[in-house]
């Protein structure tokens, strides 16, 4: 039994939010459905692919409480097609289809019993942390892309989150690059705690933090197997990755022989332009960093065999020796595109040692990229 009404806009937005957690290739068929529960004064929507679960509450008028699961794609596409206005949902009995009416539209959708829907984990105890939404968003943006996309080393598909005092350090590495971002917490954790959160879950979280102003609350369960993120009207639960994350501190070079300060936008433009020519030859862009009293430069070049080559230059304040180093253009573009501020520092040593990028004037971010070994 269920009888409820809500606005088409709210339902459409809610379905879009939980839709990201619907299983695409479902082992368990019911996970391609969305759970719809009319309880209290709200309509609860939930979906899970067993790795993450997203729950969302929307305002509704509930005449009769009830729960059902409906095929995600069908119900979402139908609701999106409706005019804005009031939607009525009614389920006369558990075995009958749900009737959806809106203006002069009416549909009947057969569901599956909510009792068979995988339980969405509840996390009531554990370590709770609060973070400013804007800072978290930026931090995830600057770190998550550096995680590995393939599963050969599962820990590397995650982002290492280290909570210490009032500070959170996020780190990701895929074996070719490392991104580390520090951010401050709104509260203090009593005890140091470190977990590995799937990078995919954080990417989803970033899509969910949109118009949030109040802090994002996150709780790690005592077994350190799950984490819940609480936003306004939305909760996301994610499994945590078990294993040992590499000790990344030792991967960050402690010294350099060449240090160049460059305008971020110029550097990104020159790298993007070189990457067009680097598409053929394994994405190689060559950087030649040339010091000159006060007005040095970085020459960024790429060539495609039998096709052509290009060279771009950007002004740089260079300290130290002239140096040559080649990178995969994708790795360079990835990091330059997420850095904040106007200027970036590039530190290099030899052409086979890692390059380090940092924003100028902030010591909260460091990015390490392994170079490509090429013939000069």
């Amino acid at each position: 039994m269920m009888k409820v009404s809500c606005s088409q806009e709210d339902l459409s937005r809610g379905l879009a939010v939980v839709g990201r957690a619907v299983a695409t290739r479902a082992v368990l068929p019911i996970t391609s459905n969305i759970l719809i529960a009319a309880e209290g004064s709200q309509l609860k929507l939930a979906a899970t692919n067993l790795e993450i679960a997203i729950t969302c509450w929307i305002g509704a008028t509930i005449e009769e409480e009830g729960t059902i699961t409906l095929p995600a794609k069908l119900v979402t596409d139908f609701v999106n097609s409706l005019p804005s206005g009031r939607i009525d949902m009614a389920m006369p009995s558990q075995s009958q289809p749900v009737e959806l009416t809106c203006a002069r539209y009416e549909a009947h959708i057969s569901g599956l019993d909510a009792a068979d829907f995988p339980p969405i984990p509840k996390i009531d105890e554990g370590v709770t942390i609060r973070v400013k939404p804007d800072e978290l968003r930026e931090a995830i943006n600057q770190v998550a892309f550096a995680a590995a996309s393939e599963e050969s080393r599962p820990v590397l598909t995650g982002v290492h989150a280290d909570f210490d005092g009032d500070q959170l350090t996020l780190a990701a590495a895929d074996g070719f690059r490392l991104a580390v971002r520090k951010l401050s917490l709104d509260n203090v954790v009593d005890e140091k705690i470190a977990v590995i959160i799937p990078a995919r879950a954080l990417a989803e979280l970033n899509r969910l933090i949109t118009d949030q102003e109040e802090p994002v609350e996150l709780t790690i369960n005592p077994k350190k197997s799950q984490v819940i993120f609480k936003l306004r009207n939305i909760e996301m639960v994610s499994q945590l990755i078990q294993g040992t994350f590499p000790n990344y501190d030792q991967l960050i070079p402690q010294s350099y022989t060449t240090r160049a300060v460059v305008n971020l936008a110029d550097f990104l433009r020159a790298t993007r332009s070189a990457s067009i020519f680097a598409r053929d030859g394994s994405g190689i862009v060559r950087l030649q960093i040339m010091p000159k009293d006060g007005n040095g430069k970085i020459a960024i070049s790429a060539r495609a065999e039998e096709v052509g080559d290009n060279l771009g230059e950007v002004d740089a304040a260079v300290e130290g020796d002239e140096s040559k180093v080649a990178f995969n253009s994708k790795y360079l573009v990835d990091v330059l595109a997420v850095l904040a501020g106007d200027e970036v520092v590039l530190e290099t040593t030899t052409s086979s040692s890692p390059g380090v990028l940092r924003p100028v004037g902030k010591d909260n971010y460091v990015h390490v990229v392994m170079p490509m070994f090429v013939q000069w």
Partner: protein, 412 residues
């Protein structure tokens, strides 16, 4: 402009070393001079004539003929297996000499090349004189003879050099190309193969002159695009520029067994050996490969190739061998039968190597590969070996520090 007109007349030189493999053998062993000599292998074996001396050609021996037939035609011929490394060295000698005359060279195989000497004459005198100098240097420094054709295009210079073999020199003056080609049989044109030749003969065309007089529309209709090329070449028109040597797109090694085999240990050992040879070449070119290909030919001549694309480009022997072995397993699962030929190759070559953060193993492997390459460079391939190629020891002889496979490729 009028005064410089002559400067821009194309002058293309085609050079071809005479009876190359045999001539190199005769330099190494002068006793072989003036005798019917065949390079290709043991007449009891399954190979073909790779090269026959002019004395042997008198008996009708030709490249590509089976060795058994060759022996029947010329029973007293001396049959040699040949040695690629000697040919490669002679070829390098040729290239060094040519490079002293012009950088504009298009090598064709080991023993042939086109040289572009356009605009040469005002500076260095007649091209003919230069050609004679080249021939002299080759004779004095390599002990070999060469035939040279000079003309305004690649196709005419090649026809010319072919016409004056051995040890000849023909220059076709500018404007006289059609006259020069006209009386020659159509088969002398590089674009006319045996099928085209017989098709032309059926319509009564036997000379290049007759071919050139056929209407273009008729040739296009009968032979398509190829007809158009024939029409141009027969008229002595060929605007192709020299193609400088391009980097290879793939590297492969293969061998035909003396006897068909299904012995896995032996197949794996051969595969490993060939894979190491591929890897060494790859590393010497400072390239990485993203694709490994296995080639198998069964005893009934069914030939298959199987490829696998790697996640990351590699230049290590072990990876090439492991992927090759995986493909071999798969192939033999599909069809386990006697194998006649096995080969392994790499393609999708890339430059540069992405260095890794957590992978000291790769670096170790690289140093190991480098050390093995250096040892083999100095003391020969068999100076250091992996266990799995050891079975080859009992089966093949070692020559110059390398295994003598049954039918080694003579041109690489």
């Amino acid at each position: 402009m009028f005064f410089y007109k002559g400067l821009r007349m194309p002058r293309i030189l085609h050079i071809d070393l005479d009876a190359f493999f045999v001539s190199v053998e005769q330099v190494v062993n002068p006793d072989l001079r003036d005798k019917p000599v065949v390079v290709g292998g043991d007449p009891g074996g399954r190979g073909v004539v790779a090269c026959a001396s002019y004395e042997a050609r008198v008996y009708g021996l030709r490249a590509g003929m089976s060795l058994a037939v060759a022996q029947r035609l010329c029973p007293h011929a001396i049959f040699l297996r040949g040695n690629f490394y000697r040919y490669r060295d002679a070829s390098a000698g040729l290239r060094d000499i040519l490079a002293e005359f012009t950088p504009d060279i298009e090598p064709l195989g080991l023993e042939e090349a086109f040289l572009d000497l356009t605009g040469f004459e005002p500076l260095y005198g007649p091209v003919r004189k230069t050609a004679l100098q080249i021939k002299r240097r080759i004779r004095e420094e390599l002990g070999l003879t060469a035939s040279i054709g000079i003309a305004n295009s690649k196709v005419v210079s090649k026809v010319a050099s072919d016409l004056c073999k051995p040890d000849g020199l023909v220059e076709v003056l500018s404007g006289e190309e059609p006259l020069f080609l006209a009386p020659l049989p159509v088969a002398k044109l590089p674009c006319v193969g045996s099928k085209t030749e017989s098709a032309l003969r059926r319509i009564g065309i036997t000379t290049i002159g007759e071919l050139a007089r056929l209407p273009l529309s008729f040739l296009k209709q009968s032979f398509g695009v190829h007809g158009e090329i024939m029409h141009r070449y027969a008229s002595g028109i060929d605007g192709r520029r020299l193609a400088p040597p391009a980097p290879p797109k793939s590297i492969s090694r293969e061998t035909t067994f003396g006897e068909d085999t299904s012995d896995r240990v032996f197949l794996n050992a051969t595969l490993h050996y060939l894979g190491e040879r591929v890897g060494a070449t790859l590393r010497s070119q400072e390239k990485q490969a993203k694709c490994v290909t296995l080639k198998l030919r069964y005893a009934d001549f069914e030939s298959i190739t199987r490829s696998r694309t790697l996640k990351e480009a590699t230049d290590t022997d072990r990876t090439i061998y492991e992927v090759g072995q995986y493909l071999l397993e798969k192939a033999l699962e599909r069809r386990a039968a006697l194998v006649r030929l096995i080969g392994v190759g790499v393609s999708n070559l890339t430059e540069g190597r992405q260095l890794k953060m957590f992978d000291p193993g790769t670096e170790r492997l690289e140093r190991l590969n480098g050390a093995i390459d250096r040892i083999r460079g100095r003391y020969g391939f068999t100076a250091i070996e992996v266990g799995s190629t050891l079975p080859l020891r009992g089966m093949f002889s070692i020559e110059d520090g390398r295994y003598r496979l049954e039918t080694p490729s003579l041109s690489r």
